[in-house]
């Protein structure tokens, strides 16, 4: 005799309890499973921002794709930026499944981006004026991304976890691609080394900002619920320390500096003590007031609008052939 209640007969509280018990057991949630609205909304926010950041993130590097200095580098950076677009595609598909029950589509995500309702990562609002920036983005920005994304590999939402496994595997190649550009410059002429130093200096505050403001013991309700939902497992500051521990020794080893004269590693605390970037500036940047925000959004919006006739044509053709 089956005494188990149908899931639909449960009260909202009981559903929530069952949901939390499920993720606590380490089980994963699929797109068609019941989930609390709050969980869905947190995922939509996180994954659409991640997806759109991959797409906007292609733009600073895109600036260097046609200019890459050798045939091998041209091939490598084309493939690299193509991967980023591919990651954007994978993630938007995950987001599309999450927003479908709300009656929304990819078009809504794009329009949210253009209207400034959907934010993208701070680093992609910044300038990339030299070839060294193409290297530093691959080496350090992708390096930072691997750290935050690795945290979410075991996320409770299975479709996101699957996308991240593929993305992280490719990001490791990207970090190697970036490192290879950086090492070539580091071992190169005085002019090349100077180009690289200027780039590291330029990107330093953005890299610190990448992980978000430090909690200083006060974890935001967003972070707390994302941890409860097992969407993420580490705090901003914990992630930033992993990054600093991994990359600062490498930067110093190559004979380069960061624009922080008092930075040091505290052995007792087992962490880097660094000067805080301007967190007010960070807020402005992610609001779309960074040095290249308007330019890149304009580029994306303009190309989207100017190719609307193509998407219309595909829809029309699809309707005709059924």
């Amino acid at each position: 005799m089956n005494t188990q209640l149908e899931h639909s007969d449960l009260t909202e509280d009981a559903k929530m309890e069952a949901f939390l018990a499920k993720i606590d057991r380490g089980e994963k949630i699929e797109a068609d499973d019941w989930m609390p609205d709050d969980y869905r909304n947190q995922l939509i926010k996180l994954i659409s921002m991640h997806g759109i950041s991959e797409i906007m993130g292609a733009l600073p590097e895109k600036e260097w794709v046609p200019k890459a200095p050798t045939l091998r580098r041209k091939l490598a950076i084309m493939a690299k930026v193509q991967d980023e677009m591919g990651h954007g595609q994978l993630l938007l598909r995950v987001a599309e499944d999450l927003i479908a029950p709300l009656g929304k589509t990819r078009e809504d995500i794009m329009q949210d981006l253009f209207a400034g309702r959907l934010k993208f990562h701070n680093v992609f609002h910044m300038e990339a004026p030299t070839w060294a920036d193409a290297g530093v983005i691959g080496w350090l920005v992708d390096g930072a991304a691997i750290i935050t994304q690795s945290m979410s590999l075991d996320t409770s939402y299975a479709p996101y976890a699957r996308a991240l496994h593929r993305i992280c595997a490719e990001e490791k190649f990207h970090a190697q691609h970036g490192e290879s550009i950086v090492l070539e410059l580091a071992e190169g002429t005085e002019e090349q080394r100077q180009m690289l130093q200027e780039s590291i200096t330029r990107w330093w505050p953005s890299l610190l900002m990448f992980f978000g403001p430090p909690e200083n013991g006060n974890i935001t309700s967003n972070q707390a619920s994302n941890m409860r939902y097992k969407i993420r497992s580490q705090t901003n500051e914990e992630l930033r320390q992993i990054f600093l521990k991994k990359y600062l020794p490498r930067i110093f080893h190559l004979g380069f500096t960061v624009p922080d004269e008092t930075i040091y590693f505290d052995e007792a605390e087992d962490k880097w003590i660094y000067q805080q970037p301007d967190w007010e500036e960070f807020k402005q940047i992610v609001k779309g007031k960074g040095p290249r925000s308007a330019h890149r959004l304009h580029l994306r919006e303009m190309s989207y609008e100017e190719t609307k006739w193509v998407r219309d044509a595909i829809l029309s053709y699809g309707r005709q052939v059924g």
């Binding site: 045939l71 084309m78 193509q82 100017e306």
Partner: protein, 277 residues
Amino acid sequence: MGELLQVETAQEALKNQEYTQALVDLLFQLADDDFILAYRGSEWLGLAPHIEEDVAFSSMAQDMMGHAVMYYEMLEELGVGKADDLAQLREASAFRNAILVERQNGAGGYNDDPHYDWAYAIVRSYVYGLHKKVRLESLLKSSYSPLTLISRKMLTEHRYHLMHWQVWLKQLANSTPDARARLEAAIAKVWSDAGELSDLGPNAASITGFGLIEAEATLREVWLKETQAIFEAANLSWPGEPGAAKERGRAGEHTADLIQALATLSEVYRIDPAASW
């Protein structure tokens, strides 16, 4: 000499100065065509009509760039110069690409207000691609064995590109009146340059005489016949005999578009060509 000659290696080719010259002339045409069109493809990155196409279009530009690299490396093997230098340090007048591939994607820079024309991108890629297929198939019978070898490899990838363009052509031709009109305008524009594709340059007689590739008229006939069948299948009217630009790219005459493209693509390398990048 001529038809019976089969050359297996670069060292063997170098024993005959005239043969080497004809081979070098042909390789520059092949390399520069793919290189410049792949560059134009790379400018599209991030701007395609949808994300899936952005990924696909970039993948095809990479294949084309990869083909250009193979040709430049063959030139390097023949002692013409370092592949990177050949691609990035020659003046426009030394380039042997057809004018069709150097035309800009549309008004504006790839990074500043690019008003790019997707219909032109599709038609140019497809018309060029159809010609490239005929050229590669002819190269399977080339007297220079290394060319037959890489042509076989390239054809495998290239067939997938053609399938992709065919789907686009069919969709745009049979969708909205707006798309149809844009497609027809793009065909007219591509067609006014396309005739130069099968031009083998000032040294054509020697190139075909040594059996490196079939005669211009043969390439042209096969290419036009196949293209006509594809246009008909897509319900497009046949534009007739293709024209050619007033500049002859195969003879080193080029437009301002190529000069701008070369300045961009070599900007970093030219900072210090002796440095390692």
